[in-house]
Symmetry: C2
Subunit: 355 residues, 2 copies
């Protein structure tokens, strides 16, 4: 479809396609990297408490109370924090506000597939830098006259993490451009680069409450960086939508940071499940990339990825399959509950012994 009413940019958009959100309750849903456990009971209580007559009032436009909580949690000042409607919105504003300089933006060829979508939306030139043969990022490959760098750490869909020393080397070798580090999955085993903000004014770190804090349904993400970078995000946000976070989301997000014990318990539990799942999948003959995330990227030397994906789907187990060169042999499998992981392994075992 096209239309003369469309702004010219619309014709060339290639929107991001999120993983399916099936309605059936008996699906083992391991396809969108959601947390298999519920959010903290204190979050649910806070969201419920926000559902009162104050909903008639606009939210505080800068969500200052939430920014203060995030700043305190990460040892930052409040003007080093930006919040948005999920990290997708935060990333969108960052691409527009900080990464559009008419020179190519660099990111890995295999990474979060929303990055080239943002580039098309805002007319940002980009260059995809191939991962190494073992699906790792080699920072030496990021060079040239560029407009910025975006690194997901841990990377998706591979799950592989970079050490903070590599991030720091990237920042130091590209002092003139912004290096955006997307830490959506960092709490599952990688080290955050937030500690580098004081020394590197070109660092923007983006995190989300969707994964490790089990709040994908509440839509809260944030960015941390030098206040000059945050000011650019604020300007774009305030030229787009004054109040991107609704009152229940602000209340729930504040409560999530207040329940540190629950957060630590749950993330450790998922890390332990991941390690058990790696061992079991390896036992079934899968090659599993080393993961610091809440998902695994795995391929079986004798089985086609697309075929396995469809066969799992037929058995009510939903994983993600990216039908592109270098990824089509892989499955991306979210770490589920112990029961979900057991069901996945049971179905895989049956599939692998058939035929």
């Amino acid at each position: 479809m096209t239309s003369s009413y469309w702004s010219p940019v619309v014709r060339d958009l290639a929107p991001y396609v999120p993983g399916e959100q099936p309605r059936g309750l008996d699906i083992v849903k391991l396809n969108t990297n959601e947390n298999p456990y519920p959010p903290s009971p204190r979050v649910l209580e806070a969201v419920r408490a926000a559902a009162d007559e104050r909903l008639r009032l606009y939210p505080p436009p800068e969500a200052d109370d939430l920014k203060a909580v995030i700043a305190a949690h990460h040892g930052l000042e409040i003007d080093q924090v930006f919040v948005g409607n999920g990290s997708d919105e935060v990333l969108a504003h960052a691409f527009f506000a900080l990464l559009n300089h008419g020179r190519p933006l660099l990111f890995p060829d295999l990474t979060y597939s929303f990055y080239p979508v943002y580039c098309r939306l805002y007319g940002i030139p980009w260059r995809e830098v191939p991962l190494t043969a073992d699906y790792a990022i080699d920072i030496a490959d990021y060079r040239g006259d560029i407009g910025g760098i975006v690194i997901a750490n841990p990377n998706a869909p591979t799950g592989r993490a970079l050490p903070v020393s590599d991030i720091e080397a990237l920042l130091a070798s590209h002092p003139g451009v912004v290096v955006l580090v997307d830490e959506a999955y960092v709490d599952f085993g990688a080290d955050s680069a937030i500690g580098l903000i004081a020394r590197h004014p070109n660092l923007l770190v983006v995190q989300t409450l969707s994964k490790s804090r089990a709040l994908a349904g509440l839509r809260v993400g944030f960015a941390a960086g030098h206040r000059e970078l945050i000011e650019a995000l604020d300007r774009v946000k305030n030229s787009f939508n004054s109040y991107p976070l609704d009152r229940p989301a602000i209340a729930g997000a504040i409560a999530a940071f207040a329940d540190e014990g629950y957060f630590q318990t749950q993330r450790r539990r998922i890390i332990a499940s991941r390690e058990a799942l790696v061992a079991a999948l390896s036992g079934l003959g899968f090659e599993v990339l080393p993961s610091a995330a809440n998902f695994l990227f795995a391929r079986h030397p004798q089985r086609d990825g697309g075929t396995l994906f469809q066969a799992l789907r037929g058995q009510g187990v939903l994983v993600r399959h990216f039908d592109r060169l270098r990824t089509h042999q892989f499955l991306r499998i979210t770490v589920g509950t112990e029961a979900q992981n057991a069901r996945l392994l049971e179905v895989l075992e049956t599939l692998l012994t058939e035929a």
Copy 2:
């Protein structure tokens, strides 16, 4: 502040400045056109019910259940409806997707001050069309080789409404461009143009749940139009943020449309309060523009608008003052509860008898 890290567009942004959200509870807050009454109890119940373990899951990305409810309410098909994070986000996407054609976009010189902000954000040329001497829109003034038209109906901050016949004449005389009708305040006394969608593929109507449904704190707005226009909005939205509406917001918005009785009662109550307030302000010597909204635009022939604004503020009554040519003599006063309106009148009466 500026920075070499900023994308060039950021330097020229002039962000929208929303009305104050004071923290004091004893303020009579008549400055941001919020509904003075709480949302339907069924909405609060629905938001609370959504605060369960499903918050760990992403929301349905297309919010189809909400779209279906809105479509049914307005006699539309589901593919004629787009939903977003408040009508501000819906408007932003519409400016980007449908109104950026390199030719000037027309809107009134006195209207929602976010429109030129969107134009700067997306590099859309625009031309402000002066309201008539009595602060009305004359559709004959909207002509030329243009990229689109944006009309707030009722207009803000004037409160004046256009008849649907004028909207239809605009649509018919500009069949090649999109006419966006921003109906944020339509439920308080104007006629909606939604009924024209079937005959006019160039019409996009935008509404919000923030005002007449008392949900400014939940951030839900929508657009209605021909499916070709909706497709453009979907493409931009899916290139920006797959899930702009969180689970509590979707649940609350669906419940808002289910409680039609509450909606009708509350909007009639506000209309009645408005008419009483118009009479009382006129009795105090104010000139009040005819309003079809939940606010009044009023000036006093003997008193300076800025001075009155500050004096009201000093007495704990917050209204809005726009310090621009043609508006600086006016106050924009949100219709409050009967008690709030009485307090406003009491303070004004004292101020007007002083000095």
